[in-house]
Symmetry: C2
Subunit: 587 residues, 2 copies
């Protein structure tokens, strides 16, 4: 929110009493507020837009000639988790900002699950140096699946209320429907405390429809980013929830939902864009929110609608339209200069009145700050991990048992609950590479209880070796998938040795690994280095037989205990819709 001083300075610059800092002349302004495009100049002083009046004639310290380019407001990602990029907020800048995203509404639930309020605070230390705006969607689910998992920290209603008062906090992050449908007091308190502060409650209504969705919406939840088909989108709009159309690495909803908008002639004022989880490399090659916009336009959406969805619609939703989301007087000067407003490739990105990126590159890298030592030591194994840690005991000594299997759906985070007959040898069930039914385990890594949860999964297609990762949504214990217990053990021990990270192991040998010291989730390295290392590691996973686009991102989501049908935590297999632990064997 702007201060008295800021307001006064903006007025004085507009009156010509103070000289403006910057004039961007000769642009075609994409005015998302009035819905027009027209030629004018833009005056900026102290981070804010002073005037867009074509007839204004104010002095400025610096002049940029727009050469007739379109001036588009900086783009807003309405919902994302930046931990899944593996990058620190500082390193992420070099990836998202050149694509034109100047505001990230980030649910930092991953670091919160690892390190709580203290972890969140540590992440915000760089906030004033970033060439983009980080707004906080305060995690509602730390832990996500209470009672079903071990996490590093807990954010109760009191902690959430406290964090909600931070100036960066704009909403309560993606509230799980089961918390409402099972009338969980703690979560209702979190909702009430958020609404009392006139902030927004973000939804997460995967698959919910009809009366369940009505009940969910009735509790005060304002949006959903989990629509995967048109019916879901239409139902959310009907119950008064806004829709964030997501295009992430594995969840790609733009095509289907934008076609739905066109087929149903929907008004777009209750619709906006997000990425949720998108890999740094894909952001770099394909784009970020600018990709959502350009793709929507390509599909036939009116460019003004598409740009509004990426800018002012999100600003209004978060009740910040007086601050961001349009190039209009008084707003923070987040401006992209592009040749073609139908294909947003920014030549220049201006954030709060400063040119921060040109031609796809940051003007200056944002150096990674000094994270506290404690946040770099969050991995502690209570018990030694050995191949025996991963034994899956059967109810018989030999023969066959029927087990629950997490059946992955390509490019989705939801999965199917299958059951499969598995051979038992010496009382144990082992991976079956032929039928691609591999052992999956989650190893508790906060030094609390040394739990190891064991399940089976279809979809990775590893023919040998194992992969492990200390980001396992949302509890972020160490998740490991493998064809044999020895490699699984070696992989987990390598991740622990790194104090968090990911690795590929085969025949007891570490083929490759990367350390992620910040909470076991994020690197301290620049983006390019992290992306190259990740590319190599994904390549190594493919060398073992995996055919996925993003093997490690899939690994990090496969065990999620809140996304149907099945999950896996350090405590065991989870029946998500029933919200309970189940045995590995079908009884």
């Amino acid at each position: 929110m702007r201060t008295y001083e800021e307001i006064r300075n903006t007025i004085k610059a507009g009156l010509g009493i103070h000289k403006c800092d910057l004039k961007i002349e000769n642009v075609k302004l994409v005015n998302v507020f009035s819905g027009e495009v027209y030629e004018t100049n833009i005056y900026i002083k102290n981070k804010r837009i002073v005037s867009i009046e074509p007839q204004a004639d104010l002095e400025a310290e610096e002049i940029i000639d727009g050469h007739g380019q379109y001036a588009v407001p900086g783009l807003i990602d309405a919902h994302m988790h930046f931990e899944s990029t593996m990058l620190s907020p500082e390193a992420l800048a070099s990836v998202v900002v050149p694509q034109g995203t100047t505001t990230l509404c980030a649910d930092l639930m991953e670091i919160a699950n690892v390190a709580g309020e203290k972890g969140l605070k540590a992440m915000l230390e760089s906030i004033d140096r970033l060439p983009y705006r980080m707004l906080i969607e305060v995690s509602s689910r730390v832990p996500t699946a209470p009672g079903l998992e071990t996490t590093g920290a807990v954010l109760g209603a009191n902690e959430v209320a406290e964090i909600m008062d931070w100036p960066e906090s704009v909403s309560l992050g993606e509230l799980d429907p089961s918390k409402i449908l099972f009338v969980k007091d703690e979560y209702i308190h979190k909702v009430a405390d958020t609404l009392a502060r006139r902030k927004i409650v973000n939804g997460h209504a995967i698959g919910r429809l009809g009366q369940e969705l009505n009940v969910y919406a009735s509790s005060g939840i304002s949006d959903d980013h989990e629509c995967v088909n048109v019916r879901e989108m239409l139902e959310r709009l009907k119950v008064g929830m806004k829709v964030f159309i997501r295009e992430g690495s594995s969840e790609r909803n733009v095509d289907e939902l934008v076609k739905g908008i066109l087929d149903h002639h929907l008004r777009t004022d209750n619709i906006m864009f997000c990425t949720d989880d998108k890999h740094a490399r894909e952001i770099q090659t394909e784009g970020h929110i600018n990709y959502n916009v350009s793709r929507a336009i390509e599909l036939g959406l009116d460019p003004m609608d598409a740009i509004q969805m990426a800018t002012v619609n999100a600003a209004k939703h978060f009740r910040l339209e007086d601050e961001i989301g349009s190039i209009t007087p008084g707003r923070l000067a987040d401006i992209l200069l592009v040749d073609d407003w139908r294909n947003l490739k920014p030549n220049v990105v201006i954030f709060e009145g400063e040119v921060v990126a040109e031609n796809g590159k940051l003007r200056e890298e944002c150096p990674v700050g000094n994270y506290p030592e404690w946040i770099k030591h969050t991995v502690t194994l209570k018990h030694e991990i050995t191949p025996e840690s991963f034994q899956a005991a059967a109810s018989c000594e030999a023969g066959e048992v029927e087990i629950h299997v997490i059946d992955m759906i390509p490019r989705q985070i939801i999965n199917t609950h299958s059951t499969e007959k598995m051979k038992v040898e010496q009382g144990r069930i082992t991976s079956d590479t032929e039928r691609d039914i591999l052992k999956l385990a989650v190893v508790e890594r906060y030094g609390k209880n040394g739990n190891v949860g064991i399940g089976f999964v279809r979809g990775f297609r590893l023919k040998q070796g194992a992969m492990a990762y200390s980001m396992s949504h949302d509890h972020h214990n160490i998740v490991v998938v493998g064809t044999n217990d020895a490699d699984m053990s070696a992989a987990v021990n390598e991740v622990a040795r790194l104090n968090g990270g990911l690795c590929v192991v085969c025949g007891g040998r570490v083929l490759g690994s990367m350390e992620l010291p910040i909470g076991g989730l994020m690197s301290e390295k620049p983006a390019e280095e992290v992306m190259s290392q990740l590319d190599e590691l994904n390549e190594k996973a493919r060398s073992l037989g995996c055919e996925m686009d993003a093997p490690f991102m899939s690994l990090s989501f496969v065990s999620l205990p809140t996304v149907p049908d099945l999950g896996l935590t350090d405590k065991g297999l989870v029946d998500v819709l029933a919200h309970k632990l189940i045995d590995l064997e079908v009884r």
Copy 2:
């Protein structure tokens, strides 16, 4: 904002754990959120909407058969001053609620100018008993014209910040552009304090265009209800301000602006409706916000657009879309049942889940509360008022002088600054009924200094007598217009005797009067009685020659020192744009 208990009850009703209070079955739901109309049922519990799911099958204590009527959200007046109806909040209910307005965003600046924060508090005492919702736009201008007028009270930045924290307060009320353009610290503090609370700053940008408008908008002002032509509307949208299209008694902007929307194919999501100042009798005969909607549709606006403007658009603007403005789960159940959604004549009005009006009448009158005695004694004349109090001294003993004249524009509150030659007799200037140049005076009525400001006005056409009124915007001293000083004196003394009110005097005799004891602005009587008395008084004014539609409303606005070109206060004539006092004679 809803409490934890409310949220829990709504959820439990939706889950069938609690029985709903009300089911409205068989309606065509006008879903302003999704932009659709479809058949369904509406379930309500504890004031809130539980479900609108067609397949839901919940039990309810009471069932209303909608008989296929349209269910439209309760209408929102985005900006009004209810003091100009002369009715108490309780009495006003019987006029506005049967027309379908369930939320009034009221700038109570009149009572605030008379009695400050204490006066505002007194007005809110009935708020919980009203069959509509009163939201407060906290007056930014008490006084409106500092230094140029005497008011009963002052609301400085500290008082405004304090009132802004009240739960009913949604915005800072209509900020005068001169306060921004002259960089007045006190008002910039008021803006900053409002934005810091994530609330809205309402504008009042009469006639401002171009760079002046850019500067005004740049200070954080979010809307304007003073557009009288299409160019003004377009310019406000361009600078990121929303537009309230007003249809009051004297200011009628719907026709021109709605035609502008249609001609320019404007999106309507940044546009809403208000009345600003509308007489009770006109609300009763013509309608309230339902008139704005129906007229807009008649002019060719899409019914969904028009109804959104009157409901969800205003709710979103005031950042209350989770509470009001749509018939969607969790929102307060404000619902109209109408036969025709193109012509909103409510058969039933439901406010917070209760039927409050049927077929144009309240189910139960809302009894006027016990206002404190002090608020009924706000008129004190410091000096005795006699005919001599109104002498207009000229700069010469005889001959002619040129004076400034307030030249009224029919059906507008703005006026033209004319100059006219007037005959001087015995060193005095008197009313000239032939040329309709009548004496106008403002008499200080708070017992502070006994000032009498004198000017001349064209437009009333009185041939004899005088009219006086203790509502004189915005300071609310006693304003009087007359053909002779004796009748002017008698009229002012009558208003003082009544402790506030209005009267018509001729030949020293009071032809009619009405007391307005609440702050000298509002009656304690029921609406019907006040309207009849006012009709009679307007008739009496017409019997003296006045040809205006609403003589007393015109009288209350004619001297306003903030609306161009000229104003008059107890301190004298005001040049509005220059914001300074000027002499009566042209020098």
